[in-house]
Symmetry: none
Subunit: 224 residues, 2 copies
DNA sequence: CACAGTTTATGAATATTCTTATTGTCGAAG
DNA sequence: CTTCGACAATAAGAATATTCATAAACTGTG
C-alpha cells in the first residue's frame, strides 16, 4: 500500500511517515508541489495526503492533476484550521476526505484506511489480529472460520482499535470517530466502557484476550 | 434573520429567495460581486449564500472581504459541480458550508439553519409549529409548556420537517439528512415510516395533527 | 500495608432503533 | 363499481444502545 505524503513541514511529514510505516504502509514524502507532481506521474500510489499550505504553488493544482489522470488514487486533503471551527463535508470537496490541523495520527490512519477501502472496492484484505478476521465489507468478524456476532458499535470499536493496534486510543477518540458529533453526547456516561466490555466478552469466548489492554487514565489498546 | 443571496442567475436567485422567505428569512439578492460588497458593507446580514460563478469578478474576493470585516456572518458557498479548484479554495478561505449545484432547496434551508445556529450559539429562537416548541439546544419539545418526550430520531425527523414546513420531504431526503451514510442502511425496510408513526403518536396525544400529512408516493409534509 | 480517592468493570434495567409480518388504504385499469 | 397492485400504517417483537448503581481494581500516600 503506497502513500504519498505531500507536506512542506518536514518534521510533520516524517512523523506521519513513521506512524504510517508502522501501520504497514509504504510512504514517500514530497515537500513541494513539483515534487508531488513528479512522483505521481512516475509511480503508482494508492493514496495521497495533500497539505494545501504548500510554499511553491497551490496544492489544489496537484489535486486537479491527480483527478485528471489517476482515478484510482485516494486523496485526503489536509488544511490548517481556519478562523471557523466548523467542519465541511469532505465529500463535497472533491477530495475523498479531509482533515484539519491539528489532527490525531490515529484518526489519519483510520480515515486513510477507510478511503483506500472505498476506492479499491472489495479487493482489500481483511483485517486480522490474534486469529480474528474482520471482514470490513459486511461488518462481520470470525475466529478461525467461526463467525462471531458483533453489533455495529462493537465492530466499530474493534475495527478502530485494530486499525490503530499498538497505540492507545482514548475514549474521546473513539467517541469522535464512531459517534461523530461529540456535542450531543452526554459525556458523564460510561457507554464506551460498556461496549468495550461487551466486545471483550464476545471475543473472550473464543480465546484469551490479554492483548486487549486497558490503559488506565488513557484508554484502550490492542497489542500485537 | 437576514440573508444575502449572491447569485447572477436571476431565476435561481428568485427561486431561492421565495423559498427562504417562505421559511421566515428576510432575503436580499445581489447579482454581482460589487452589489454584494455594497450590501455587506452597509447592512447587517446573518448569512450569505455565495455562488462562486459570478460574471464580474471573483466570488472569493467577496468571501475574503466578508471574513476580514464581519465575523458573525455565516457563509455558504455554492459551486457548480465539478469545479474542484473552487471548492478547495473556498475551503481554505473558510466558508461555513458548501453546496454543489444542483441542490435541493430543502437541503439548503436545513444547512443554512444549522450554520446560523452554530454561528449565533444558542441565542436562536426555538422552532414553533402548531403550538409545539422545538428547543434545538437540548433536543426537547414541548406543547404549551408541557414537555414531550421524543427520542433523538423522532426529534430529528420533526425538526427537519418543521424546518421545511409546507414542503414535501421524501424518505430519501430524511435518510440522507438524518442518517447520512446511506450505504449502510438496509433500504428495504420501512424504519422511517415507523419513526414517523411513533412521532405522530406522541404529538397526537396533545392535539390533532392533521397538519402532518402523508403525501402518497412522495413523502411527508408539515403544513402551517 | 492500610487507607482514601479515583478509574474501570460488571450486571441489570431501561430506552431506543430497527426488522418483520400483517392489515389497511388509495388509485388506476378494466 | 370492482379488482388488483402498490404504498402506507400498524403492531409486535428482536436487536441494539445507553444509563445506572454497585463492585472491583488500581494509585498514590502516610
Amino acid at each position: 500500500m503506497n502513500i504519498l505524503i505531500v507536506e512542506d513541514n518536514k518534521e510533520l511529514a516524517i512523523e506521519v511517515r513513521d506512524f504510517l510505516s508502522d501501520g504497514g504502509y509504504v510512504c514517500k514524502i514530497a515537500n513541494t508541489c513539483n515534487e508531488a507532481l513528479d512522483e505521481i506521474g512516475g509511480n503508482d500510489y494508492d493514496a495521497m495526503l495533500l497539505d494545501l499550505g504548500l510554499p511553491d504553488g497551490d496544492g489544489f493544482d496537484v489535486l486537479k492533476a491527480v483527478r485528471k489522470t489517476k482515478s484510482k488514487i485516494a486523496v485526503i486533503v489536509i488544511t490548517a484550521r481556519g478562523g471557523l471551527d466548523d467542519r465541511i463535508d469532505g465529500l463535497h470537496l472533491g477530495a475523498d476526505d479531509y482533515l484539519t490541523k491539528p489532527f490525531a495520527l490515529t484518526e489519519l490512519s483510520a480515515r486513510l484506511f477507510a478511503v483506500i477501502r472505498r476506492m479499491h472496492g472489495y479487493t482489500l484484505n481483511d483485517l486480522v489480529v490474534h486469529g480474528f478476521s474482520l471482514q470490513l465489507q459486511d461488518y462481520k468478524v470470525s475466529y478461525e472460520g467461526m463467525p462471531i456476532n458483533l453489533t455495529k458499535k462493537e465492530f466499530d470499536i474493534f475495527q478502530y482499535l485494530v486499525l490503530n493496534k499498538n497505540r492507545v486510543i482514548t475514549r474521546l477518540q473513539l467517541t469522535e470517530h464512531i459517534w461523530g458529533d461529540i456535542l450531543e453526547i452526554n459525556s458523564d456516561s460510561n457507554f464506551i466502557d460498556v461496549h468495550v466490555r461487551n466486545l471483550r466478552k464476545k471475543l473472550d469466548k473464543h480465546t484469551t484476550i490479554d492483548w486487549f489492554e486497558t490503559v488506565r487514565n488513557v484508554g484502550y489498546r490492542i497489542n500485537t
